[in-house]
């Protein structure tokens, strides 16, 4: 991926378009046996994809004694007790709110930086452009292990340990290079003639970007927004390292409190897991169609 040539580009863009099309190609006649085999395989695959989610959902409505038994039952004295316990007797509410704040700020900052940088990379030829693209790709390889201690030191020197700001900044370093790369791919699919026409009409480069191209890039921005949101919503390592007091934790750092080494509180964990997944799943399904197109358009070219 590090040096993808232009040949890969039409394919990727084409695939992005094709994914919105309905039936891909006329299927050859299939025998009944083949049809049964196809559906059986897919049903098994779907079962594997769904059962952990469904099981956690079902378990979240069981009282503690039913979860702590080796007997298998789908429903057992259904109750909302676990949810009320998690919401009102633990710090879950604080964690949830912290996660929302961190994710929203990461999203807004990420979009602003990634779209401007992506536009510059897509439209202008400037000295240092190739180097910058290389750097963006290289950052994808950095293990959290090498950056986390120096970033921790920087945050400690700035007095930002145990704050949400430290997480927003750290997540931007993870998300921005990848998103700038994706946005560049998306801007490349918008015809350059539009920029030229806007320039003729007297708009400067920033006016062209802000008033002409950005509105057209809304699907690309949606992808970036969801990507940054979900990155921040699901991150764990920085959160555990940077946050210290209970009420400052985000979901990723706090949830492990329900599962100590011994006597795991599975009933609380399942209820919390359901509540964490709902916003993430909602955001995700809203975005998934664009996400694929954005990933393939951004990922396979350069």
């Amino acid at each position: 991926m590090v040096h993808l040539s232009a040949e890969a580009q039409p394919l990727a863009v084409e695939s992005a378009r094709a994914s919105t099309r309905q039936a891909p190609k006329p299927a050859p006649e299939r025998s009944l046996g083949a049809s049964v085999l196809l559906h059986t395989t897919l049903v098994i695959a779907t079962f594997c994809a769904l059962f952990p989610v469904v099981w956690v959902l079902l378990s979240s409505f069981k009282p503690a004694y039913a979860i702590r038994s080796s007997e298998i039952s789908l429903f057992k004295d259904p109750t909302f007790e676990n949810y009320t316990h998690v919401l009102f007797d633990t710090s879950f509410g604080y964690w949830f709110l912290n996660s929302v704040i961190v994710a929203v700020f990461t999203m807004v900052i990420g979009i602003t930086m990634a779209s401007t940088a992506g536009y510059a990379l897509s439209r202008f030829n400037f000295p240092g452009k190739r180097g910058l693209m290389w750097v963006f790709l290289l950052t994808q390889m950095f293990p959290v292990a090498i950056l986390i201690v120096p970033i921790y030191t920087i945050m400690a020197n700035l007095g930002l340990i145990n704050t949400k700001a430290s997480l927003v900044i750290a997540y931007c370093t993870v998300a921005v290079p990848f998103c700038a790369w994706m946005m560049r791919g998306y801007f490349d699919t918008i015809p350059k003639e539009l920029d030229e026409a806007a320039a003729l009409d007297g708009l400067g480069p920033f006016g062209t970007f802000y008033r002409v191209i950005l509105p057209l890039a809304r699907p690309g921005i949606a992808v970036t927004a969801f990507y940054t949101f979900l990155t921040a919503w699901g991150e764990v390592a920085y959160a555990i390292a940077f946050l210290q007091t209970d009420r400052q934790l985000t979901l990723g750092a706090g949830l492990q409190q329900f599962v100590p080494q011994f006597n795991a509180l599975w009933e609380s964990l399942t209820a919390a897991a359901v509540m964490i997944t709902i916003p993430a799943g909602f955001v995700f399904f809203f975005a998934q169609k664009h996400l694929v197109a954005g990933l393939t358009a951004g990922g396979t070219k350069g």
């Binding site: 196809l38 099981w55 990379l121 202008f124 950095f142 920033f206 057209l216 599975w266 694929v292 990922g299």
Partner: protein, 330 residues
């Protein structure tokens, strides 16, 4: 995306501008990102590499030791044991196994990465090929199959930890229900690593499936028709049309997937937690624990970080070379 095409008009003003005029908007647009990357990625990177040549840890990180005295004032004196430059000592210690368990974690990482990426790609490709046919219910299957992608990774990790729970987990209960004896998953190195691999496979297949489905849909249908007319068997069509047509997408997702899996933190951290006794730690979680658990050994974590990064760069370079040698468009 817009398909509007406007008449191309040569803009002569662009050519007349000076070099600075031509480039300043571009620089203005990339400068915030460049500053953030510089301050928060490259400066830490350089610092991390530097730390790997020192003996920095929690106890010796301060240049001065300050103690509070009565009345609230502080007195500071230089730290006698301040961190110092130790050359390649950390690398020698790590690679000879004197400190930490690098080679065991390396073996775990390799098993983990190879198993996960192979199953991600294999299952993803199989499902993508099936979903690329026209049949009733195709879009429903497609939506249901990407559900695992929608769940945040740490939540999936806990969900699977729950399923594999030794006493109350669904998997052991099912084993007992069919008359088998329950397995103490986290008491043995390979069964423990197995649970983490299963979790990560579950998590990662949807991405591969969707990316490969996008690739499949870009292969022109006429190629398959022509091949059918020439009497090619389904296997021959798969070998000679599908796989070559997927090359650009495959090479990208395998490279990305390998890097992501190699650096995957939450699954091992929450599913196996290194049980039993740290035997299922991979390099990334090992480095994290060195840095933030017990006596914080920052230089050890930095050494791990440099080794991980070097391995990934070598891998990416070799991978790229291999593809180019095969005449790929990479």
């Amino acid at each position: 995306m817009s398909s509007t095409t406007l008449p191309r008009t040569p803009s002569s003003s662009g050519r007349l501008r000076s070099s600075f005029d031509k480039h300043w908007p571009a620089y203005a647009m990339v400068i915030p990102t460049v500053i953030v990357l510089g301050v928060l990625v490259f400066y830490p990177l350089v610092q991390g590499i530097f730390q790997s040549f020192t003996n920095l840890n929690e106890a010796n990180q301060n240049a001065e030791i300050c103690t509070k005295v009565l009345g609230g004032a502080e007195t500071c004196r230089p730290n006698p044991n301040q961190a110092e430059f130790v050359g390649l000592d950390n690398y020698v210690a790590v690679l000879t196994g004197e400190v930490g368990r690098f080679w065991m974690q390396f073996a775990n990482t390799i098993v983990w990465t190879v198993a996960c990426v192979a199953f991600h790609y294999g299952l993803g490709l199989g499902l993508a090929v099936m979903l690329n046919r026209a049949f009733k219910g195709r879009s429903i299957y497609r939506v249901l199959l990407i559900v695992p992608w929608a769940v945040p990774a740490f939540v999936s990790a806990f969900a699977w930890r729950f399923l594999f729970d030794q006493r109350f987990g669904l998997i052991n209960s099912s084993l007992e229900a069919v008359g088998l004896s329950p397995v103490a998953w986290f008491d043995q190195r390979w069964t423990s690593l197995f649970t983490a691999i299963v979790t990560n496979i579950w998590l990662g297949v949807p991405f591969m499936m969707v990316a490969l489905l996008g690739g499949l849909q870009s292969i022109p249908g006429e190629l398959y028709e022509a091949a059918s007319i020439d009497g090619a068997s389904p296997w021959q069509r798969f070998r000679n049309i599908t796989l070559p047509g997927l090359r650009p997408v495959s090479s990208t997702v395998i490279l990305l997937g390998t890097i992501w899996t190699f650096n995957m933190f939450p699954i091992i951290f929450f599913v196996t937690r290194g049980q039993p006794a740290g035997q299922t730690e991979i390099l990334v979680t090992g480095a994290f624990k060195a840095a933030f658990e017990g006596i914080r050994n920052y230089s050890l974590a930095a050494t791990y970080g440099v080794l991980i990064l070097s391995m990934l760069i070598v891998f990416a370079t070799v991978y790229k070379r291999a593809l180019r040698a095969q005449g790929d468009v990479f």
